[in-house]
Amino acid sequence: MEAWIRARVTLALTLFALLFFVSRSSPPLQFVISNAERRIDLSSHIINVHLTLKVENTGTRPASEVVLALTPTEVDHLAMVDALAIKGKRKKTTSVRLEVKPTELPDAPPIDAKYFTIYLADPLNSGESTTLEVLYVFTHFLEPFPAEIAQSESQLVFYHDTALILSPYHIKQQTTFIKTPSTKVESFIRVEPTKRVGTEIKYGPYEDCPPYSISPIHVHFENNSPFAVVEELVQEIEISHWGNIQVTGHYTLVHAGARHKGVFSRVDYQSRQFSNGASSFRYLLARLPARVHSVYYRDEIGNISSSHLRTNSLKSELEIEPRYPLFGGWKATFVIGYGLPLQDFLFESSDDKRYLNFTFGCPLIGMVVDKLTIKVVLPEGSTDPSPVVPFPVEHRLEL
């Protein structure tokens, strides 16, 4: 009875954050950075670093590979690196996305460092200069100190970095801006000239820094933004013959900030909202595709009654509340499931193949996902599935 046997073709794609190809290339140390500006945003637990480099080719040959250097700890926490080439001047700028790949430099550098190479679209001739914008995103990078806090305390974290940008090139002039979420900064190391205005600390400008010069700094500041981390997310996308896509996400949520210590008093939490449990969080926001239907939010013991769904023609927003507020170290698990119309996501190509176009990732906003598994359950009778993902992933086929 072939019809009864359900040919369940499951395509599982697993992405581990931080998996990159390793390729090798020669060291093109013929650049000088004439101006570098770095803006570090510490307002949440996901750290965005915007680096603007003005690169000048001082060598004799045209070159197209610019090398970035990061410390090993930074690489361990690096979630994403992205580079743009800025063309044009003033208001008429256009940006081009450039390819970035990890590399190794063959000659032993003076300090321990890991490298990434930016491949410029057009080789830079001798004496020319160009502007690059680099975005680094770091996760799990802020270290809570003290590591355990009571309910009434707010969360203080350390940020470690160097005041001088680590680079294999000579940097003529550089400045670093660090933006903290509030004006409450316990301490920070000064490397003159250093200036603190409001929520911003400015390091620099420093002139003429030789390659690989560093100057360790730390900032100890208050950060009460929700340190919400999904330890594991298993998302199942089931494609049905009947014009529906069913998405089911199994979340294991944890508060990854400073651990909660001692008592949890509901009366304090309820009556003094601002001074109590400042680092805890209650609400999460999920942005779901438009035309979403039959949304549910539950866990293994039943429906969780505290959620709101707002839909309009462009997007749907699901505001969910875990069963209890999450303090540091507390965990919660839940399932979010919803249905989507098939025609919004499935496209037919001329060669009799069908493509499912689906966003890879977690619909919850401001969330770090440590381990993401996406399972695509194809309908019966599907053959030869293959994934197309813009970044390297582990994937396997289950029958």
Partner: protein, 724 residues
């Protein structure tokens, strides 16, 4: 609804000899039965629609957990399951102490659906088991009543059973308890007994034993069957209705049934050892004697028979006396006379409240009040007497059984509110008979009058409509009861206010917190009501649970809850307890909280540990927590854990359940710390503080603390005379 009216249409077909009309009636009955099944199923879905598809209350959570285990590990693991997550440190042999019928039924349904590629979760199957079986039960009622009074009465009783509130209360979707399948098994066993009695077929007798076996698997209430059927057999013999059909109906049931019952681990040798089963064996002997007498009477001449009787009676009496004397001596030597506590409390309604507070403490073991009869069986209560009369016109073997069934179940329901459930089918059967007889007479009279004068017929039609209107009120009441009264899952509460629906999901909030934020091997102490839920939902080891098999263990927890903090800490510490969970309704006015259950903790605790004396907690014979409360009460752990920092919520510490301000408002906890309180304060979880290192200094400190907190009066005097 069409079903009851349509059933009346089926009745006249019985009285026609036309085969076509008979066939039509058969098809109609089939469709009516189908509709009744749909009705029985769908009337029980209010809880899913109004709340969610979730397991209800307390015991169903245990059954759900057992089913999960069964589906995960398989049947052999299930029989050998020793559960170490409950009754810590004793554990519980689940496989040998649980009635497996329900679990195996749901497990089988789940397995069947999954092998048909219908991937339902175990929870969904468990939720819908009860409604499915209530459809089966109404069909079984049809069969039973058909054996007694024909198809018309059968259909009427089936409709009534599908909607009787008493049964709905135990079989709404989600109430996954033994009774859900047991009522079906009970009715079906009775049906097969009557079928055998009417046909004398050994085939049905064998089926009957199997149905009895299923009943034994499902519910402890099987003792009702094994006592009621012998009673009926005895009744038949005494009233001179002995026949070989009776013998066929009874003897195989006792032999096969007892053998099969002994196969169920939880029953085992109880099937022959306990007094609940003695009646069946005694009647078994009697029926053989009677059969023998009838046989002898058949072969001997009347004169010889008389001689034989005198001979046998003299010898037989002597032997019987000796045997009975030995039996009585044996039975009397055991303290409970060989009866289990629950059965004894049935025979003597005052027994439990006198000797076993743990049975008396369960609300469903209380005797019912009059309103609950009207709530649970509604107009059936008025129809039952009519049905009994109808059973006597004429009295058959089967109808005498129904009379006996209703009489005994009325008694049992009067003792324990839970057994209202056994009364419900009996009431439905008799009412069904009554209604159907009434319809017969009235519709018959219409038919009779039709060719003649029509004015009389109108009167009759009026009466018929009054009959149907009675059925309609019953229907309205049943639907109301199903929707409003019996659908609440009790783990989620809702209230309707001006701002709309308000949900109190505190229980699951607390259980979810426990399951994710405590170590998997931590022990949680709470009053036994929450044991099953804690193991099933929070997956944590509990000290006592709703199984209540060990009174001493429960008394230990009761003692801890009614002791002062230090003593309670020591008891809990000796049990490896890490967290203590209390349920507190004072903030939102949830009445069945631990303070209201506190008297049972004191009574059960005091029953085993005499240093807990109930009068210490009573002021004017009442448990009070206001300013009149006794110092013992104000210092016991339950009071402190319930009201810790409660005063800070509204400044007055007004308890909305007891409708009073509490006695002692400001106090500190020395040995416990609050680790979690749910949103509406319904569940509060405390952690035992570890012992401090400096024992000497600590002892002094705690002494001074307890003395300063021991009486609120002293702090009052302090305020008056600060210089003293």
């Amino acid at each position: 609804m069409a079903a009851p009216e349509a059933s009346t249409a089926a009745v006249p077909t019985l009285y026609t000899n036309n085969t076509l009309r008979n066939a039509f009636g058969g098809v109609l009955s089939f469709f009516i039965l189908l509709l009744i099944g749909v009705l029985a199923f769908s009337i029980r879905l209010f809880s899913v629609i109004k709340y969610e598809s979730v397991i209800h209350e307390f015991d169903p959570y245990f059954n759900y957990r057992v089913t999960q285990f069964l589906t995960k590990k398989g049947i052999y693991e299930f029989w050998n399951w020793f559960d170490d997550r409950t009754w810590y440190p004793l554990g519980r042999v689940i496989g040998g102490t649980v009635y497996p019928g329900l679990t195996l039924t749901a497990g089988t349904i789940w397995w069947l659906l999954n092998s048909l590629n219908i991937p339902l979760s175990v929870e969904t199957v468990c939720v819908f088991t009860a409604p499915i079986f209530s459809a089966f039960a109404s069909w079984a009622t049809y069969l039973l009543t058909k054996e007694v009074k024909g198809a018309g009465a059968g259909l009427t009783s089936a409709v009534l059973l599908a909607m009787v509130p008493s049964y709905i209360s135990r079989s709404v979707a989600g109430s996954y308890d033994n009774e859900a399948v047991a009522i079906f098994a009970l009715i079906f066993t009775f049906y097969l007994y009557l079928k055998t009695l009417n046909t004398g077929s050994l085939f049905y007798a064998t089926l009957n034993s199997l149905a009895y076996f299923y009943m034994v698997c499902s519910w402890g209430g099987y003792t009702f069957i094994i006592n009621l059927i012998p009673m009926h057999v005895l009744l038949c013999i005494v009233t001179g209705r002995y026949s070989s059909r009776l013998y066929i109906a009874y003897a195989p049931l006792v032999v096969l049934g007892t053998l099969l019952a002994a196969l169920v681990p939880v029953v085992g040798f109880n099937a022959v050892m306990t007094s609940e089963h003695f009646a069946s064996f005694l009647v078994f002997i009697i029926i053989h004697v009677v059969a023998f007498v009838y046989y002898i009477k058949g072969i001997l001449s009347p004169k010889m028979f008389k001689v034989a009787v005198t001979l046998v009676v003299t010898v037989g009496l002597a032997v019987c006396c000796a045997v009975i004397a030995v039996l009585i001596a044996l039975v009397a030597s055991s303290p409970t006379k060989g009866w289990s506590g629950r059965s004894l409390s049935l025979l003597d309604p005052t027994y439990a409240s006198k000797y076993i507070p743990i049975i008396a403490s369960v609300s469903e073991h209380q005797p019912p009040t009059w309103p609950s009869y009207f709530m649970d069986i509604n107009v059936l209560a008025f129809l039952v007497p009519a049905g009994i009369i109808a059973c006597f016109l004429p009295l058959s073997d089967a109808s005498s059984f129904v009379v006996l069934y209703i009489a005994t179940s009325v008694y049992f329901s009067g003792v324990m509110v839970r057994l209202m459930l056994v009364l419900a089918p009996a009431a439905c059967i008799t009412s069904g008979i009554a209604l159907s007889e009434a319809f017969d007479v009235l519709t018959g009279s219409i038919k009779f009058q039709l060719p003649g004068v029509t004015s009389n017929a109108e009167v009759d039609a009026g009466e018929t409509s009054s009959d149907t209107s009675e059925a309609q009120t019953d229907e309205v009441h049943s639907v109301w009861a199903a929707a409003e009264a019996y659908s609440a899952p009790s783990i989620v509460l809702t209230t309707r206010s001006r701002d709309g629906l308000h949900v109190f999901d505190d229980f699951r909030e607390a259980y979810a917190w426990l399951s994710h934020n405590t170590d998997v091997n931590d022990k949680v102490a709470s009053w036994w009501d929450y044991g099953y839920q804690t193991t099933a939902m929070a997956n944590r080891t509990v000290i006592v649970d709703n199984n209540t098999w060990n009174n001493t263990h429960i008394a230990t927890v009761g003692t801890a809850m009614s002791s002062p903090e230090r003593a309670a800490w020591e008891i809990f510490h000796s049990l490896d307890v890490k967290y203590v969970l209390v349920v507190f309704g004072g903030l939102i006015g949830y009445p069945s909280d631990d303070i209201n259950k506190f008297l049972w903790m004191v009574r059960i605790g005091g029953g085993v540990f005499p240093h807990i004396k109930e009068p210490d907690y009573l002021r004017d014979g009442q448990y009070r927590i206001d300013s009149q409360a006794t110092p013992t009460m104000l210092n016991c752990l339950m009071y402190k854990l319930s009201y810790y920092r409660f005063v800070e919520t509204d400044g007055k510490a007004y308890d909305r359940v007891r409708r009073t301000e509490i006695g002692k408002k400001y106090f500190k906890l020395t040995h416990f710390e609050e680790v979690f309180t749910t949103h509406h304060w319904m569940v509060r979880i405390y952690k035992l503080k570890p012992l401090k290192n400096r024992i000497r200094g600590k002892a002094k400190k705690s002494k001074s603390k307890t003395s300063s907190t021991s009486s609120s009066k002293r702090s009052g005097t302090k305020k008056k005379n600060p210089w003293q």
